[in-house]
Amino acid sequence: MAAYGTGNYRASQGRVTAPGFGFTVYAILAIVLMVLDRRGGWLTHARYYLSAAAYPLQLAVSSPGQAWNWTQESLTARETLEAQNAALRQRNRELSVKAMRFEALERENAELRGLRAALPAVADHWMAAEVVDVELNGLRQRLLINRGAHNGVFRGQAVLDSFGLLGQTTRVSPWSSEVILVTDPEHAVPVEIERTGVHTIAVGSGDPDSLALPYLPANADVKPGDLLLTSGLGGVFPQGYPVARIADVRHDTAQPLAQIRAIPLARLSALHEVMLVWFQDQHPAAPTQLKDGASSSGNPALQRQPAPPLDLLPLPALPRLTPAPPVAAPAAASAPGKSAR
């Protein structure tokens, strides 16, 4: 110990152990922790329990906001509640009518695709979770929700709200989990442009109201207003959930790629409740689950599908990325879609 102490320090205050030694020990400890954390071995379990220990404080810290919401709700006037109730009833009716039509469409779609029966819905069951903490800065866009491993939440689970895709769970603790939002700069979602079927990747920008599509060529067929759906590639999100709408497309003549910005459909900045989704494993549109934290690439069930007979393909699949003539575009777009199902 004495070897690391500075002389004058020890002379003036003998009771304190030499700081140099302590620092060396703690610095080595910290570095070892970081390296282990990056490898993601047993330290993941340690973090699991540590974040469980941290959860009470996180709950306490978020309680003023929750208490404010609760007071506001309980002080709502009767008329407001009645109006709200009527509006919700109206909405429910509209949605039921739409759902009726949806079932018919689903059957029709199955018939058109030559399937004997319509596939069951890809979502198996849902669970609502409350948002405990929101972190929306330029570096990290995360949520803390009040459901964890005890509720069956797993890492890499899709999280939605009633408007669109929110993100996925990254860290699961016993009673809470951390959700990385689609707008986090470290998050990317494989998406498909609904109008043309073009596949690309939507990357978070760090801004809660925008996603970037950095990998589309300057001549790609993208227009403001186009809807982005999850493409089902990448093995986390199932195919066909709405993610964002294209807001603006800029073509810089000096850049080979277009600069495209999309606005997420999920209301990321005003969240109280989110939905966790479990998908049917056997469903062709379902993502493959992550096993032991290892990421999978694609759904093996999809990859084993034989290629469709050639006469079904009106055009080679390649010209999808170029702005195709309006008549040919939907036909060309349906071709890769068919091979994926």
Partner: protein, 158 residues
């Protein structure tokens, strides 16, 4: 130096806990950007005034708590915080004698060093964040130092 009976470990832990709460309190975006690193400032205060109580261990474990709460790489804040605590403990007698204004400047330096270590580790871990916003808290932290010392002196019964 003369009367240390009131500088109890419990009191220190309590202030550190309050500072941690302030550090992780959910705030609107613009406020969160200027929020000073309360926990770092509190740890620095205790390392300068009563180094025998917490010392580098206090820095390490506070940093670890921050890592858990922020979801950072485990050990990132711990390393940065124990590094600046080390310097603070080593130089505590010199820093203690300086006027408040100079102390605030030293705190600014320490906070910049702290943020730089975090920045370097971020880069090493493969998600560099070059936004200038991350440096703002070093300034607000230095500005709040006189207030923080006054409040923390109170908790010690000065």
């Amino acid at each position: 130096m003369i009367d240390r009976t009131r500088d109890s470990f419990g009191r220190m832990l309590l202030t550190v806990l309050v500072a941690l709460t302030l550090s992780v309190l959910p705030l609107p975006l613009w406020l969160a950007a200027v929020r000073p690193a309360f926990l770092v400032i509190t740890v620095l205060y205790w390392s300068i005034t009563v180094p025998r109580l917490g010392g580098i261990g206090l820095g390490f474990f506070s940093g670890l708590a921050l890592d858990v709460f922020r979801g950072a790489a485990l050990g990132q804040n711990a390393l940065a915080l124990s590094a600046i605590t080390y310097v603070a403990v080593r130089e505590h007698q010199k820093i203690r004698l300086k006027p408040l204004f100079q102390q605030a400047l030293i705190i600014l330096g320490a906070l910049i060093a702290y943020e730089f270590i975090l920045f370097a580790i971020d880069g090493w871990a493969g998600h560099p964040n070059t936004s200038p916003l991350r440096w703002i808290h070093t300034l607000t932290g230095a500005l709040i130092w006189p207030v923080a010392t006054a409040v923390l002196d109170r908790t010690r019964g000065r």
